[in-house]
């Protein structure tokens, strides 16, 4: 079983299929990524640079936008990835 699954080639995030330790080297599709923090099983890791406000992709589709600059190997979840939908809280 691979450590991660890259659902769509357009995706800048992958899903980890087992718990990943901070500093662990993840190799897939001919590239090496170093996890910048622990990542729980089935949670997501960035595989590209994503600027703050940039879109995050999974299934080849937008799943939200980055709340900070993200780098390959970063753990991506609710702390740094915001939904773009149903945001009544942002209404003026």
């Amino acid at each position: 079983m691979n450590a991660v699954i890259h659902v769509n080639s357009k995706d800048n995030l992958v899903t980890c299929l087992r718990p990943i330790k901070k500093g662990e080297k993840i190799e897939f599709e001919g590239k090496t990524y170093i996890a910048s923090s622990d990542i729980p099983k089935f949670h997501k890791m960035a595989v590209e640079d994503i600027p703050k406000g940039g879109y995050c992709y999974k299934y080849g589709q937008i799943i939200g936008e980055a709340l900070e600059d993200l780098h390959p190997g970063d753990y991506v979840h609710v702390h740094n990835l915001a939904s773009t939908r149903g945001r009544g809280d942002l209404k003026a």
Binding site: M1, I5, V7, T15, L17, P40, K41, F42, H43, K44, K58, Y59, Q61, I62, I63, G64, V76, H77, V78, L81, A82, S83, T84, R85, G86, R87, G88, D89, L90, K91
Partner: protein
């Protein structure tokens, strides 16, 4: 493909033969439960509404109760009202009786109190149970199944394994002439542009998109971030970050090949003359959503979960499938199928789709799902607005 079930007077085909004790309002729910307790096998649903509702909200509750009574898995119905409640027992009974199945109605006020209502209701229910016990399964076709599709307690394995497995089952059922229902409008937000392409009829496509828009608009009008409740804390703990991510995984339940025939209102009866894949406007909350689909005619439910959930239905078998092997091992009494093998053992979606389809056939023929064996009968009606 043949299955064994119960041919109803109006030609519909059920896979269970339930005796339903149907309270018209919350005021009659406790009494209905006491009547059901007198008659082994009788099922009362815990209706929490049915009075002091107005307009579309009242209609939705009544449509849901009517749909439960009409469902092909129900062989006979006793409607129990208080008497002065917003939904009138005689009226509801009449609407259900057009199916031709045995339907009777009583009210607590009309009987002269709780004890007399329990006695009268018990007599009627006993006679109905005796009649139902003489009915035997006869042959029907797999195309007569209406499959409701649900996901709940989702995690990232739902989108990767269990929902695509359900999608395979739905595609296969529709290809054999059957019907299936995708639901949970909230969990379409972020994926609607993909699903919309599969509606052949532009008017139905527009209706579908309006349903999704209206749900999102409710969160906007409240001035809240949808993420305060959707995804849920458990979804997030499992690894789902946003409603878009959840929705894009949820939509795999709709499979790949079947076009959408139409978009149904909550608990709207699925057209009997035009089978295939439908969308129904239900909330992401599982209990209300399943209740809506069963009221719309679903006779079996297939339910995908990542975190694990016990949910059943009062009158429809619910098959539980997880994409998470840890969850399958953690909750063995609740989960019927382990699609986690797709992730951990390299099994294919087709492998698990065939396994689940075979189980669906067995369940339709009478095998109890784990939710049925445990007596899970969750029931909830989606509200349009608050009670007055």
């Amino acid at each position: 493909m043949k299955i064994l079930g119960y041919r109803r007077e109006n030609g519909t085909f059920g896979v269970r033969n339930h005796l339903l004790i149907l309270p018209t309002s919350v005021c009659a729910t406790d009494t209905a439960e006491k009547i059901a307790a007198q008659v082994p096998g009788a099922i009362a649903v815990p209706n929490q509404h049915g009075c002091c509702q107005i307009g579309s909200d009242q209609e939705q509750t009544e449509r849901t109760l009517e749909g439960f009574g009409k469902n092909a898995n129900v062989g006979a119905v006793l409607v129990v009202g208080l008497g002065c409640d917003g939904i009138q027992a005689n009226e509801l009974a009449k609407r259900i009786a057009v199916t031709g199945k045995p339907v009777e109605a009583i009210t607590i006020q009309g009987c002269g109190g709780t004890l007399k209502a329990i006695a009268r209701g018990g007599e009627i229910a006993c006679a109905m149970a005796a009649k139902l016990s003489t009915e035997v399964r006869t042959e029907g076709d797999i195309s007569e199944i209406v499959l409701g599709m649900e996901c709940g307690g989702s995690d990232p394995t739902s989108g990767l394994a269990s929902n695509p497995t359900i999608g395979y089952v739905s595609d296969k059922l529709v290809s054999l002439g059957g019907s299936s229902i995708l639901s949970e409008t909230t969990e379409v937000i972020g994926a609607e542009h993909i699903l919309a392409e599969r509606f052949g009829d532009p008017a139905q496509r527009e209706k579908f998109l309006t349903m999704v828009h209206n749900v999102e608009e409710r969160a906007l009008k409240l001035g809240e971030d949808l993420r305060t409740g959707q995804p849920t804390p458990g979804n997030k703990a499992g690894g789902l970050s946003t409603i878009e991510e959840k929705s894009l995984g949820c939509m795999y339940k709709a499979g790949n090949t079947a076009p959408f025939q139409g978009a149904l209102e909550y608990s709207e009866l699925l057209p009997l003359d035009k089978k295939g894949l439908y969308f129904m406007d239900t909330p992401g909350q599982d209990i209300d959503s399943i209740t809506g689909m069963v009221a719309g005619g679903a006779t079996a439910i297939v339910f995908s979960t990542g975190r694990g959930t016990p949910t059943g239905s009062p009158i429809a078998p619910v098959i539980k499938i997880t994409g998470n092997t840890d969850t399958f091992n953690n909750m063995p009494d609740n989960i019927d199928v382990n699609a986690g093998k797709i992730i951990t053992e390299g099994a294919t979606i087709k492998d698990l789709g065939e396994e689940t389809f075979q189980l669906l056939v067995e369940v339709c023929n009478g095998k109890l799902t784990k939710a049925e064996a445990l007596g899970h009968r969750e029931f909830g009606i989606y509200k349009v607005s608050g009670t007055f």
